[in-house]
Symmetry: C2
Subunit: 324 residues, 2 copies
């Protein structure tokens, strides 16, 4: 795949009057922040621009949507350009795929690895820590001043996708861009409070309830916790709010493989696994028709919680013996 240059993409945008921006489904901070920053900036530059999304906006990211986000496909009947942002795969456009393809010009700005770009113009950089970094560089190329609002959205995109500058994807360039954002007068701390101090009480409670079921295996090198339907009912939490628990278990000193067993239905247990340094959970997941990476994988077991615990526990012990 050969990328276009930001200059070529800027030329297309400059000659357009109306643009629709498409975040990926299951919106996260990077797709949403990148869309918000670009939409706000293009409007400031005189363009008609909207972010067309589907699904729900996470509570802690709502502050960025302003009057720019819509679910109404007819907000612009036929946009000059459709841009997919942080999304390099039509599958991640959900039901908006057909609408996306109605524009005469399509552009993709993304940092996910893809084998099959589907737009006419593409800037896909898997080395970029966040798509927010690419939006920053595109706006620079277009000589559009990044103001406080756009700067805060780009900061949100970058800080969420880099785990606050801690994940391996973070680079020297990430920090240099963050430094430059300070010149636009961003209140990064207020962004941070919005993103991280906006958890539902129910999420805190289900996390606590689940962590109390923690069992250690393999002399403390494996940690396994559970979430049952009963625990969800008691705390009022949704299953999606158990995100993060398996990483919390990985944070325990000595733990190399962490695991969360999620009771999806009677005798249906979804399993999430993580590796700190040593281990290969993709190998375990593959045995049970699951998927993922060496350090993060998942699969489903058709059995009771207790049986699932025994199964997973044996796999962890074996995996640690092999790689530990």
């Amino acid at each position: 795949m050969k990328n276009n240059t930001f200059d070529e993409i800027a030329e297309q945008i400059n000659s357009a009057e109306s643009l629709l921006l498409f975040p990926h489904v299951n919106m996260d901070g990077d797709t949403l922040g990148s869309c918000a920053a670009l939409c706000h900036s293009l409007r400031s530059a005189g363009k008609e621009c909207w972010v067309l999304y589907e699904g729900s906006v996470p509570l802690n990211l709502k502050f960025m949507t302003g009057d720019m986000f819509t679910e109404d496909e007819n907000i612009i009947e036929s946009a000059d350009i459709s841009m997919c942002i942080d999304c390099g795969d039509t599958g991640r456009l959900g039901v908006r795929k057909d609408k996306f393809l109605t524009s005469p010009v399509t552009i993709c700005i993304d940092h996910h690895t893809t084998t099959d770009p589907f737009c006419q113009f593409n800037y896909i950089d898997p080395q970029a820590a966040a798509t927010g970094q690419l939006i920053f560089k595109l706006l620079r190329t277009m000589n559009i001043k990044i103001d406080k609002q756009a700067g805060e959205a780009i900061f949100a995109a970058i800080t969420t996708d880099t785990g606050n500058f801690q994940y391996t994807n973070t680079s020297k360039e990430t920090h240099l861009i963050a430094a430059e954002l300070y010149d636009s007068g961003i209140d990064f701390n207020s962004v941070s409070v919005q993103i991280y101090e906006n958890k539902r009480k129910e999420k805190i409670l289900i996390t606590s309830r689940s962590l109390e079921t923690l069992k250690m295996v393999s002399e403390g090198r494996g940690g396994i916790a559970r979430v049952t339907q009963e625990m969800l009912a008691e705390t009022g939490a949704e299953m999606s709010e158990t995100d993060g628990i398996v990483e919390e278990i990985r944070c325990i000193a000595g733990v190399e493989i962490s695991c969360l067993l999620k009771e999806d239905d009677e005798n249906v247990v979804k399993v999430s696994m993580r590796v700190k340094n040593k281990g290969n959970v993709a190998e375990i997941a593959a045995k049970y028709n699951g998927g993922g990476h060496v350090k993060a994988a998942g699969f489903t077991l058709q059995m009771s919680m207790d049986e699932a615990f025994d199964t997973v526990s044996a796999e962890i012990i074996e995996n640690i013996r092999k790689y530990g």
Copy 2:
């Protein structure tokens, strides 16, 4: 107070043969990382140098101490220079104060506000996000190359003291220094895993047990949880491991004032309070002979847990009414 320049301090260090570095008591990532970076770099430059500490090294920071940290006051009988790092107050030198003052030259590098510097040479910059930033600039002034080991210790100092670049003390310069550290080949992610994925299981358990006692007041704008001696005994945790719980409560959407009640002894309850945006907990603490800042304060109540809950709950409701 007038600071010396880094040049003046460098001149002193250059003409010395032996140096003792003093972190503050209750060592944190900034004091420890700054000492480790400076000690390693001065040794590389041919100096005899040790970090003289007291108390215990937190489990998650041990990776930085190498063979540089000692509790033995006689490791150097009489050092040419004593330097206190991230510590601008003799009270924070603990029992090492006399030893510190035996050197003919004393130097302070710190970023805490102080009214009464006690060293002959001082570089105290309350605008610096972390003392680690000042160590970076001192080493630059001295033309000492920051290698991987020193770079990782400075990164640890900065990332812990800025809450991973999220606290208001973070500045453009913080990110520029972080960017430069990448040139020394640091493995920032491995530092991050050491620091953040090294929690005692007991800490996770006491956090969970405590959060399950959470009660909301003032229509969800106040959140109060408890830790009892019984809970500590059940989980095997120490009271010091309850650090962070009150911030966890502040992270709940809608909460403006969070509070943790810690049963210190029978009818002795220590109270920690935090503010998200609106509120003034210093005002509450002052009423009960406690101390702190507008957004973080604490005090002690001589009463039962249930009475403490009622007292604190009434104060939070009133404070939110006043400032909310």
